[in-house]
């Protein structure tokens, strides 16, 4: 059976759990990271020297880390995966650029806002930094708003680019920050909420 190491409130673990359910793949999950620790243990570091979650272990023992890479690997190897990750070079690159954009651009301001309001005691919050991050995030979600206006999903049909950004858009709508009206973004979020796997693994109270 497929094993996923990682606590379920990690945004990066959520991506993998969501995809596994979309593909109908049985798996077991083992808590690690955050309060659960374990990621600095020697046996964990042997799987993932970066000490992060998630780590994926396939039934044949193949071990992989980095959540976006895990999504692409599962789509390449598991039945039904092609529908979520197109094979043509151009279409594939279109999906991948939005996945990379989450890593390189969107992730940081969303991390700051999330960490401030969910994981930092009120007295210790750096609200100025959170406000700057919110401004950045608003600009970036406007990019997604414009993109969705052209395509309905992030890159053509529903794909792993929607899974990656969908994990973050729940946080955007759930966090206590000012949000200007972005009806296309809201409509996409509501479409994602129709997916049972999204409700089960992502659209949960923040912790």
């Amino acid at each position: 059976m497929i094993t996923v190491w990682g606590r379920k409130n990690s945004v990066n673990v959520m991506k993998v759990l969501w995809l596994l359910e979309e593909l109908g793949l049985d798996h077991r999950r083992i808590d690690a990271g955050g309060a659960f620790g374990r990621t600095r243990d020697a046996d964990y570091l042997a799987m993932n020297p970066n000490a992060t979650v998630p780590t994926l272990v396939m039934p044949n023992g193949f071990t992989l880390w980095e959540s976006n890479t895990i999504l692409r690997y599962l789509c390449r190897t598991q039945p039904g995966g092609n529908a979520l990750y197109p094979e043509a070079a151009e279409a594939r690159a279109d999906v991948e650029r939005w996945m990379d954009w989450q890593l390189a651009v969107l992730g940081e301001p969303m991390r700051v806002i999330f960490w401030t309001f969910v994981r930092t005691p009120e007295a210790e919050r750096d609200l100025a930094a959170a406000a700057r991050a919110r401004d950045s995030a608003e600009r970036l979600w406007r990019m997604v708003e414009a993109r969705l206006g052209e395509t309905g999903f992030i890159a053509g049909g529903f794909s792993i680019a929607d899974i990656v950004l969908g994990c973050f858009v729940h946080r955007w709508f759930a966090l206590p920050v000012a949000r200007p009206d972005m009806p296309v973004l809201r409509g996409w979020y509501e479409r994602l909420l129709h997916r049972p796997a999204y409700r089960a693994h992502v659209a949960q109270p923040l912790s």
Binding site: P49, T52, Y73, A93, A146
Partner: protein, 189 residues
């Protein structure tokens, strides 16, 4: 001919230029970015709404995000030595590309902007030291990987050069040391 938009001093542009040279792919490069043509113009933003370099344009259209561009070019030109065809081989390359985009990049940026680019917005000594520590921890992870495999098959070479050239201390020796030096990374939320 392939068009590459971005100044050659950008580490992300360099990834693309290096990939093109490895493939033997001719290109025309245009200077865009800080100090050159502005990426905040409507013309540029219509190509990449992020306002970042590099951007490429080929007969199929526009593409941005440097790691995606490198994978796209290798795939289009059948360079399975740079990007393996097997899902497993490919995933092991992609892991390190994603790691560069997240953990490695978050670690090094502050120290580099402070000590090399002398950016006045990056002058906090405690943050410089924290960044240098994190950067060394990340380079330690890379060291451990290279010791295990003899090579990453990756473009981390650009980064290692930047680390080696900087006043940032010696990389740690291996996996265990690197892990011990890891800062808590809130990005894992």
């Amino acid at each position: 001919m392939l068009r590459i938009l971005g100044k050659a001093s950008s580490i992300n542009v360099r990834k693309v230029l290096w990939t093109c040279r490895e493939i033997g792919l001719p290109y025309q490069r245009e200077d865009w970015g800080t100090g050159f043509a502005s990426t905040r113009t409507a013309e540029f933003l219509a190509m990449n709404p992020n306002g970042l370099v590099p951007v490429i344009e080929d007969e199929a259209g526009i593409l941005w995000e440097s790691n995606t561009i490198c994978r796209y070019l290798a795939a289009r030109h059948g360079r399975t030595d740079l990007l393996p065809a097997s899902p497993r081989g490919r995933a092991l390359v992609e892991t390190w590309m994603d790691w560069q985009a997240t953990d490695l990049n978050s670690a090094w940026r502050y120290a580099f902007l402070a000590l090399v680019r002398r950016d006045p917005g990056f002058a906090d000594q405690a943050q410089i030291e924290a960044s240098a520590r994190s950067w060394n921890a990340m380079i330690g992870i890379l060291e451990g990987r290279l010791a295990a495999t003899g090579g990453l098959r990756d473009r981390g070479g650009l980064h290692a050069r930047r680390h080696g050239a900087g006043p940032f201390g010696e990389p740690l020796a291996g996996d265990a040391d690197a892990a011990a030096g890891l800062p808590r990374r809130h990005g894992l939320c």
